[in-house]
Subunit: 168 residues, 2 copies
Amino acid sequence: MKISVYALSIDIFTNALANLSVILEKGVAYATAKKFDPNVLVASRLAPDMLPLSRQVQIACDLAKNSASRLAGIDPPRFEDNEKTIEELRARIARTIEYLKSIPASSFEGSEERDIKVPAGERTMEFKGLTFLQRWAIPNVFFHVTTAYNILRHNGVDIGKRDFLGGL
Amino acid sequence: MKISVYALSIDIFTNALANLSVILEKGVAYATAKKFDPNVLVASRLAPDMLPLSRQVQIACDLAKNSASRLAGIDPPRFEDNEKTIEELRARIARTIEYLKSIPASSFEGSEERDIKVPAGERTMEFKGLTFLQRWAIPNVFFHVTTAYNILRHNGVDIGKRDFLGGL
């Protein structure tokens, strides 16, 4: 069986983001049960100089959207970073998943060898498609999804690794 | 180009673990600069009912070792969970990487379709090789590596996402 770049990008990213959405929903449930404003969680951080939950979710979405688009050789839509509530963050995730699923599988044909350029401040990183997935896109998406999980978990939200893995 | 299971397991896991080792080394450097015992970090957690740094590292190593072994169809060696210092945790990582690199690439031939069974308490999860990688092995390894990173970052260690990504 041929392993496709689609399976390594769209499948992995949509699954990770869908699980993140469920985790965020559990954050709202926890806040409601404890009678605090769930949006306190949106601004929570693990360290004063780390990004808050809202940015972790936005960046996870953008990394998935932009990485898949680069591999598919298409220009991604730009999403504003204006979410202020967990509901809005979950809508951002839903919109990202919808976009990811709209990319035709055929666009990824041969993309494991495609030249991928990633602007990073003043420099540009260059990868072949497969290395881009291994070293950049996959680790980076999981970094932000896990950090979002850890921010909620640190604040007492009743979640476990099983939620992160989508109930497995 | 054919994308191999080797590239999606051994390459990804050895890279993630090598980066984790550098991050742990920075934890020691930070503790030394701040004049506290670096082994305080080993027992640190993000929540009282989460696992400490030591277990995050041990589990990341075991998930990489056991997942790659399952895909390759071989019995993994068993490593004791007896590390008490960051140096010992880094040695555990080195031993895991050495083991991962010792698995012949040929063992992974066709493993994307292999039946993989994972014991989980009283039940057994069953996957095809590729789904096992997408849904279990890759997310799980990154979950524990990122959580180890977050424990250190939460405690003030001077690390950034670039360290997590291996200097990219």
